[in-house]
Symmetry: none
Subunit: 194 residues, 4 copies
DNA sequence: CATGAATGAGCGTTCATTCAT
DNA sequence: CATGAATGAACGCTCATTCAT
């Protein structure tokens, strides 16, 4: 990748970052291309030099975040530690992403409602892998006797649902620090599995 | 309330019911006044006789649902049963509402993002009361020695968050019946409090 | 058809007439919805009350003109007169339409380039019928010994092509009257068939 | 003209050739500067070094084609052959150009609709000369007794109109070869003049 | 000279809202 | 009361054009 290409790649990332920011503030439907451009001190026409339409831009916002969080999750799975420790780590990662990426992470919830099928397929596949990784963590814990839970899928949905909700009320200025919250959530949610 | 007023009130309720339905199907932003009117075999102009604009219509949709669910919750609180039983009942009520009213219930999440401040204030107040009722259930359980939880607010957020998430994956045609799900969720979430 | 519907139908026709006018002046691609609306002293948004998009509006412009001219042509075919007389009458009809409907009539030429397939199919079918009627006139003339022409299809293309071209140079203020032109064209083009 | 100038001139011709090609494929209004640049493996910015805007580029496309075809026509006029032979040759040249340059040739039809007046004037002048050459061919034929036609201008319009129309239906894969078509057209159109 | 990048005006379309009848 | 009709602001998107490098 030469200088030019690096510059373009960098700009694309800038746009994605700004877009994620604005979308988290205003919500996806309310965010216009003009809003995103304004955040970057560009005109909306310029955005189309980098992304072919609003949908594509949004897609890459998701893709980037999901790819990053998936990577982190895969590493946790390969760690050499107890299932409880791994699950706690996974929950913390999830909380961290949910807090930092708010809206974007949340939207991934029903991709078919937002994306045309080509994009939705990719998102769905990543979400499936994400869920699968959690399911494996639970399964291994059960097999090793650490966890005891009969409805594994529902347990996973409860854990992820609870964690996603953090976006609704977390605020940096709140009563608890991010780290405290992550600790308490991890501890409490672990109770479901035991 | 004379006949005319009763007729108008009845019509308003019809509109709210239909609006809730359509919004749950298509999502709030995607639902046009025309969609709502079509469901009622009216024309969109007529809606403006009953509600002064789309925001007001949406507000009353929320208000109605929140009022209903609050009523149910208050009754549970006054029941003569154990805290565990009350909490399980509350969770089931919440799940039931989340499933039946999907979108509407979900929107209540961030009222400031959707409503201008006058409306938002009312919604926020009801949501606060809703949270307060849950907190009281937890507190009483702790006082009676049934529950054991130090971070009461976070426990409540976890429970409600997990329950809200049900919308994302519940389907009438799914593997589990609504009643099974409610039972499992109630059981699992109770673990957090003990 | 009650009063309301008649009013709407009338308005639709008004719009089609105005649209045809503006398109003939400026050409299809250069004509904006705003142009058409302005001609009618409306705003462009209102057009969408009557037609679902620009393509549909244009389609009906064509459909109307083609239907009218086809009707006239069918009647000529059934006349009780010589093939020469019929052909002359047909040419005059064609010239008359080409002059009065200029651009619209011209655009019908390559429907696939302008319309999406559903609309294009209808136009193509009408154009085919139009061509077929001319071909029958030629064929009957040959069978009756009035005409003598081996390449019937090319003869038809030559006749229609020449007639279409009238749009390019005809002007009401020109040297010749419309009737004179029609007479001369009909006479000269008949020579091709004999 | 030094080397640099020759290079530039060559490049300009390349651009005109490619532009004509793309425009014939996609139509003038649908052809973007980007399309033209892509065909030449350039970027659209570069086109502006050679032509000051899209209109100028289009103008030279026309100018080039019209100049070429005018040259051919002048040579035919000076040939030492009968008026019929000359006219047939002229018709074939016209058909050949109409087929090869489709869109461009067609656009010349109403220059005022496409070009600002300075450019339009030049085009109109060339078109006038083109028509004049045809008129002279007809006139000489009449004077020599080969042709017999009272409305010379209309005869010319008929001939050119019919010939232009060839674009609408000619296809290299069609039933007849280009040469066959040219022969039939020339024969049939000559009938008008006799 | 050529290019990548940016711009801005304009277009088709949607939709909440208004209002005369 | 209800409706048909109209409005206008806003949005996503395109593209000819410009310009620093």
């Amino acid at each position: 990748m030469n200088l030019r290409e690096r510059k373009t790649a960098k700009k694309k990332e800038d746009i994605l970052r700004s877009a994620s920011l604005v979308i988290s503030r205003k919500g996806f439907r309310q965010t216009t291309m003009e809003d995103i451009a304004a955040e970057l001190l560009m005109t909306k026409g310029s955005l189309y030099y980098y992304f072919k339409n609003k949908e594509e831009l949004l897609f890459y916002c998701h893709e980037q975040i999901l790819t990053t969080v998936l990577d982190k999750l895969r590493k946790i799975k390969q760690q050499d530690s107890s299932s409880s420790e791994k699950m706690k780590a996974a929950i913390k990662i999830h909380l961290d992403t949910a807090i930092r990426e708010r809206e974007i992470f949340n939207l991934a919830v029903k991709p078919e409602q937002i994306f045309s099928s080509d994009y939705a397929d990719v998102i769905v596949q990543k979400l499936d892998e994400y869920a699968e990784l959690f399911d494996q963590l639970i399964l291994h814990g059960v097999q090793k006797g650490e966890f005891s839970v009969s409805q594994k899928k529902m347990a996973r949905m409860i854990i992820l649902g609870a964690a996603n909700w953090i976006q609704v009320w977390y605020s940096p200025e709140g009563e608890f620090s991010k780290e405290e919250i992550e600790q308490v959530y991890a501890d409490y949610l672990l109770k479901i599995l035991t």
